[in-house]
Symmetry: C2
Subunit: 460 residues, 2 copies
Amino acid sequence: MRHDPLVQALRAGTPRARVLAREDIPSGLLHDEAAGARHGQARALVLPTETPEVRETVRTCAQFGVPVVARGAGTGLSGGANAVDGCVLIGTERMNRVLEVDTDNQTAIVQPGVVNDDLKGLCAERGLWYPPDPASSAWSTIGGNVATNAGGICCVKYGVTRDYVLGIEAVVGDGTVVRLGGRTVKGVAGYDLLGLFVGSEGTLGVITEVTVRLRSRNSRPPVTVVGFFDSLTAAGEAVVSVTASAATPAALELVDRHCLRAVEAWKRMGMDPNAAVLLLARSDAPADAAEEEARVLLDCFRSAGASWAERSTDPVEAEALFEARRLAYPALARLGPVLTEDVCVPRGHVPEMLAHIEEISAAWGTPVANIAHAGDGNLHPLIMTPGSDAVAMDRVHHVFDAIMDAAIALGGTVTGEHGIGLLKRDGMRREMSSAVLSLQRSVKQALDPQSRFNPGKLVP
Amino acid sequence: MRHDPLVQALRAGTPRARVLAREDIPSGLLHDEAAGARHGQARALVLPTETPEVRETVRTCAQFGVPVVARGAGTGLSGGANAVDGCVLIGTERMNRVLEVDTDNQTAIVQPGVVNDDLKGLCAERGLWYPPDPASSAWSTIGGNVATNAGGICCVKYGVTRDYVLGIEAVVGDGTVVRLGGRTVKGVAGYDLLGLFVGSEGTLGVITEVTVRLRSRNSRPPVTVVGFFDSLTAAGEAVVSVTASAATPAALELVDRHCLRAVEAWKRMGMDPNAAVLLLARSDAPADAAEEEARVLLDCFRSAGASWAERSTDPVEAEALFEARRLAYPALARLGPVLTEDVCVPRGHVPEMLAHIEEISAAWGTPVANIAHAGDGNLHPLIMTPGSDAVAMDRVHHVFDAIMDAAIALGGTVTGEHGIGLLKRDGMRREMSSAVLSLQRSVKQALDPQSRFNPGKLVP
């Protein structure tokens, strides 16, 4: 299909971009990291370097009546970036320039393919900080982070990607370039279209530029408080206690025994294999306040019944524990396929939700590991799939659904930060009323009437 | 018109609500506080106490084909709550119950008519804090604050209303009750319809319940830093210096000599009548960090050329200065009609924007006073209208437009926190491209296809 007229038209429209025909597209670029999400076969892959190339690509797709699927680094966990049959994939990997870092205004303007950690590094050199820190920050791009409204560990104090996006440029419709938001930290002119595009998973257009807000870099070393608990619910009670306290930790993460053992088996970090649950809290409050806050956190851990809890005095050890947290997912994935949940519940309900997960796991005889941005109520139960036979897979899907239903029953949501993509469309139907689903579809219909952008994703 | 069949139908549908016929509606309820914004004559006013009454009211309006205009306390400054001819006004003043304060989850659920300060007070009793603090907080309602995405003084550190709204209930369409968002602090299921409704000025539906996020109450007394400057631009340079510093002040407010003199003439607070500009900064950082931050702020003020700058050692005096800031607008309004701007520019451009305002004022021979949430780049130039003759009014409107254009040219917006309403529709046209205006209209058309809710507002 190198002589596909669509490919020829794409090449003619964007002489400087790379355009790959169907048979030349590496298969790894057809999907993201969501286990079990289907993907189709793209008809072409375009790798632009500038906005006009994206505009021309969308115009050509409009002429040929083919769908457009944008992708960043493909680290998503819900299938949002998966190719649909016959689509043109737009990869942003070559749109990777930081266009401006404005230290006076504490803002940066970047192309969508800039890697999160690369932006962080460049900001750090100027005494600035871009907070959003998804676990994928070493690979994932700002464009993808914006498209999914990515979260991470520091959200509990510093908020999610949405809180740092001041403006975007995007190609919409049949190839129109628009600017939404701007460079100001406040603004209420008209409907918040910027907020609507953040987290819209590429279904409303292709983001071609992002203006983000920065903070001053916090150069003080953080103070870490470590707690081990004998049960998930005791750890959950500690989370509630921290939420209701005056402390504002910069991290409050939970790692259960399944994860601790998987990390230990892999990396031999010397962690106690009998520990049931680890809670990690971190304070980055200024001056003496960090020590004061650490005492509050320690009190919360101990009063909730921690078997062992201390303020870490060894920065290397503290960093190793956070590293264990980061390694939990890949360590488990080494052992076999893992289906990742992303439920989020009101913070006061974290203990009940953890108890429900244990009950569901036991009822279906399927092990479920837990890592969690516990301070946000955002849990990542990891359903371990023991075999690929139909009976085992059936149980896994029952567990998946039961966990979503339990979260919804507690006033929660099926996705705190990974997005709907393909995997959570059924969950979205469970969570929302038919009237709200109808409003969701109205928005898609209004802003992408031809269903050009990432069709079949996000909206059930 | 007490026998208006619409009024009879409204009464039949909502037996417990108060329904006022056209001739019984107090004229003060037909508009908000925007000087110079036109309003029409409502056909009825409904004062419900519960969501079902709002739903039935909207259903009746749909049957009769009449528009619905919701209003809170009417403290808006852009005409957003003004009656349109033949509409049914829904006033939320009797929907004023706090339904829940959840200390574990740090959330509250309120009816839309709850007054901002009343919620603050109830939270304070439980050691909690609802931060958004518009100048109208003693009167304005949470529903109105959400509808306009209200800002205030503490936004510079703590964010705007949007940052505290977790969920809403609203009546949309022909009388359907929907819940958008929820009770979790994170969530990315589908498009951010919640964010779309926040700041939508009643044009998409009527908000009937709001779930807000709270913070722990900060019980430490804040530290205030006061600076006087000989020129607006010097004060602006101090603002840039603070923005680029590591300090995160909880307030950074500017008050110019016009305002200081007006307050002094009214309240006799003993302020220096020769001071050109006052900058007020406040740190509420924990423990010793507040003193450290105060030193940083003081350095910024002095290095920008403050004629006098000190950390306030007298809490009563410091509070009096903030009181002068709050009184600036009413003090000026006492002297004659004032047209209020609400431009917001990138923070690094505050000095240039202040210089432009002075130039425009001089060029048109029209005095312009300035108060500003300077730390956000959100300025409130107050155009003083010397007379009501056509020539004077013409000059005022030229100044109004020129200030908006100057802000747009600096990458700013025509409204940082007051909203579009009626007064800024032309400004929105100046600010946005025709493609973006078209997207704005598409959203309205998609979610309110009959143009039932607050027609003619927000969307030009």
